[in-house]
């Protein structure tokens, strides 16, 4: 497993909002060590049995939290991120969708300067099955096992997670890095963590058309990753010139095509699956090969 485990102490920024509250409850039910919530002006109260604080600094001081999951509205996300960093949080999981990209850029710079880690924004979060769920992923889909997953997508991660779980391929950790063009953790950093993680045997990378993060990941894998990697690219049949939902998901001027990504992966020895079920199948094949070796 990487980044989070059953001992990771988590606070929720925006815990009393509609989304924040619903997911705080779900995370607690899953077994995540939620130690507090932060909502300015609501300090001293509690939510789903955990104390609410006015500031992150106070929450960290009183609970020893190292991770914060952020559910605040998009225009407040930068401030919330700065507050988390200043309060001593070292892992920020930013769920919020629609954060202005220049705000994200400012937060990413601050995170780097502090040596902290940011997952997101516009991401489903992270889950180490059976230990800790931080974010909005549906916990029931994931089961503990040797597959590391990293994905730009939210719901597609659930889909492929489901296919893996149904095929008996549990997961070490699943990281949804988010679909925004500017973000915290990118593929290479997460790939390296899975490479170093003893539990992870096979890595699944879920990408999509547009940009060139997948091509860069392919180059990185060729140089640095010994474990088998299975990739899936969404948008193989997307018409050129149309933005497919995510800000970055567009094929234009012949750039960012699924084909280019598939070729880059294949050149790096990465097997590319065409459907979610095929991901599970190829993972199974890769594990068989490992056992034989």
């Amino acid at each position: 497993m990487i980044l989070v485990n059953k001992d990771t102490k988590v606070i929720v920024q925006g815990a009393t909002g509609k989304m924040g509250s619903a997911h705080t409850k779900r995370m607690i039910e899953y077994g995540t060590k939620i130690v507090g919530g932060v909502t300015p002006g609501r300090g001293g109260s509690d939510i789903h049995g955990v104390p609410v604080f006015d500031t992150v600094a106070e929450a960290v001081q009183k609970t020893g939290a190292t991770c914060s999951v952020i559910f605040v509205p998009p225009y407040l996300a930068l401030d919330a991120g700065y507050e988390a960093l200043s309060g001593g949080i070292t892992l920020l999981v930013l769920i919020t969708e629609g954060m202005p990209p220049q705000d994200t850029a400012k937060l990413v710079a601050a995170v780097k300067a502090k040596g902290a880690k940011l997952i997101g924004p516009n991401c489903p979060g992270i889950i180490t099955p059976g230990e800790s769920l931080i974010g909005i992923l549906p916990g029931s889909i994931f089961k503990s096992g040797p597959i590391g997953m990293v994905s730009k997508s939210g719901t597609l991660t659930y889909e492929i997670g489901l296919a893996l779980t149904d095929a008996g391929q549990g997961q070490s950790t699943c990281v949804g890095v988010g679909g925004d063009p500017v973000k915290g953790l990118e593929y290479p950093e997460v790939l390296q963590m899975f490479e170093n993680d003893p539990q992870t045997e096979v890595i699944v990378l879920i990408g999509e058309i547009g940009g060139n993060a997948e091509e860069e990941a392919a180059v990185f894998i060729k140089k640095n990753i010994k474990k088998p990697v299975i990739a899936y690219i969404a948008g193989q049949t997307a018409p050129p010139g149309k933005r497919m939902g995510h800000a970055g998901a567009i094929v234009s001027g012949g750039k960012g095509t699924a084909q280019s990504k598939v070729e880059a992966f294949e050149a790096a020895g990465v097997k590319v699956a065409k459907t979610p079920n095929e991901v599970a199948q190829k993972v199974g094949e890769a594990r068989k090969t490992l056992t034989r070796a």
Binding site: P100, P101, A105, Y158, P181, N212, A234, N277
Partner: protein
């Protein structure tokens, strides 16, 4: 490490930033590759036929110039006209420059810029230009400016770089028509917090000196400031001209406003509606309802939550022999009302024979979706629906839908196969879709 910054810039200035950096494939080079930035191809690569399909708020030249001027960047004196006879009231001397105000690129090549020598010629030309449609984009008005005596032209832009995760300057000492063959393209990251020395370093890199260095640095810094304060994806001046009197003037400009930021920019309130004129009726409705719709040619209407899942579902429909009629991503956290709007939008597409709904509830609660489905089916009982619904609050959703008689598919592949099979069934003539 190889860091080539051979920038492919437009053949003609009005094609604007087709900024596709040509690079090696090394990782370290990603910064340069993505000088194409935020939405590397859509935003910057203004491959003109494609750009109108991108739902971003692109501004007309006159709007961009008004913003430049508000931020202290000199622009030529100008008058905007919508009728030829308004030229009579323009007192900028002759010859004049008449420029079509369109949202598409390639304006100069398409004959959208003319230089009439007197009023008579001007009125005749203005009449023609006002009726001109360039690459599907109608001329909104004409911008009338005096002809400047230009000593040289530069290129200057600020974009948010995707790979470096920070704003960057892109500049060239050769703007305008010569720019494509320019070997003098400079990119420079703009670190937080911003300091004006960055503009001076940029001007120096462009090979400028003396008072020109400080003047161009000043424009660059002002361009960055407006890029930041107005939440832009792109702020571009092409060309930035230096007159024979050494005045530095933004002769043409391009601004793209960031979609996600628009609700905190009072300045742009109400502008989105005005700039969506090139989208189809349904795409406009979807856009204003905060839904991501792309219309396609097939007969299976696809509705999912999340871009990745919607793309994957579309890919699977194709793989199993079906034809997607649309791509509709409801996004995260869609409630009952938003889901219902989405269903209605897909339903209105006359080509759609089957609706395939695939929702995996994470931040979206399945019961909210079920509520929308119950409401939708009460209104459109004849509609063929294939529903795959899993995730948070699934049990509650199943209970709600049990009464409706709708079959739920737990497996996506099964759902897709069923939708494809249903899409091949010939509908009786005159059947209501």
């Amino acid at each position: 490490m190889f860091f080539s910054t051979k920038l492919k810039l437009p053949k003609y200035r009005r094609v604007r930033t087709d900024v596709q950096l040509q690079l090696g494939d090394d990782m370290a080079v990603r910064s340069a590759r993505s000088a194409g930035a935020m939405r590397p191809e859509s935003r910057i690569g203004r491959a003109t036929a494609e750009r109108r399909e991108d739902w971003t708020l692109d501004l007309y030249e006159y709007e961009a110039k008004r913003i430049f001027q508000d931020h202290g960047i000199t622009v030529p004196p100008s008058v905007r006209i919508t009728k030829p006879e308004e030229l009579r009231k323009v007192h900028l001397g002759w010859p004049l420059t008449l420029k079509c105000q369109v949202l598409s690129g390639g304006r100069g090549k398409a004959g959208g810029i003319k230089f009439p020598k007197d009023l008579k010629e001007g009125e005749a030309i203005a009449k023609d230009l006002l009726q001109l449609t360039i690459k599907g984009s109608k001329t909104e008005s004409l911008l009338v400016e005096p002809r400047l005596s230009i000593a040289r032209e530069l290129y200057l832009a600020v974009v948010l770089d995707r790979a470096q995760g920070c704003p960057i300057f892109i500049a060239s000492a050769e703007g305008g028509v010569e720019i494509e063959s320019s070997h003098n393209v400079v990119t420079m990251p703009i670190p937080y917090p911003f300091h004006p020395f960055v503009g001076r370093e940029l001007a120096q890199k462009l090979g400028l000196s003396g008072s020109l260095l400080t003047k161009v640095a000043d424009v660059a810094n002002k361009l960055y400031k407006l890029f930041e304060s107005k939440d832009l994806d792109l702020a571009e001046i092409n060309p930035l001209v230096i007159t024979e009197g050494e005045d530095v003037i933004a002769l043409d400009g391009k601004i793209t406003v960031n979609d996600d930021s628009i609700h905190r920019q009072k300045y742009f309130e109400g502008w989105q509606e005005k700039h969506l004129s090139d989208l189809s009726h349904l795409e406009q409705r979807a856009k204003l309802a905060d839904l991501n719709l792309v219309e396609l040619d097939g007969n299976i209407g696809i509705l999912c939550n999340g871009a990745g899942l919607t793309m994957a579902t579309m890919d699977m429909v194709k793989a199993f022999g079906g034809e997607p009629g649309n791509f509709l991503d409801v996004g995260g956290g869609g409630d009952q009302k938003k889901t219902l709007t989405a269903l209605e939008i897909v339903n209105e597409n006359p080509k759609v024979q089957v609706i395939l709904l695939n929702i995996l509830g994470g931040i979206t609660a399945c019961d909210e979706v079920a509520g929308a489905l119950v409401e939708f089916m009460a209104k459109h009982p004849e509609r063929t629906m294939i529903v795959r619904l899993r995730g948070n609050n699934q049990d509650k959703a199943e209970q709600m839908l049990a009464k409706s008689g709708l079959k739920l598919f737990p497996d996506l592949e099964e759902a897709v196969k069923e939708a494809v099979a249903k899409s091949k069934v010939k509908q009786p003539v005159g059947a209501k879709a």
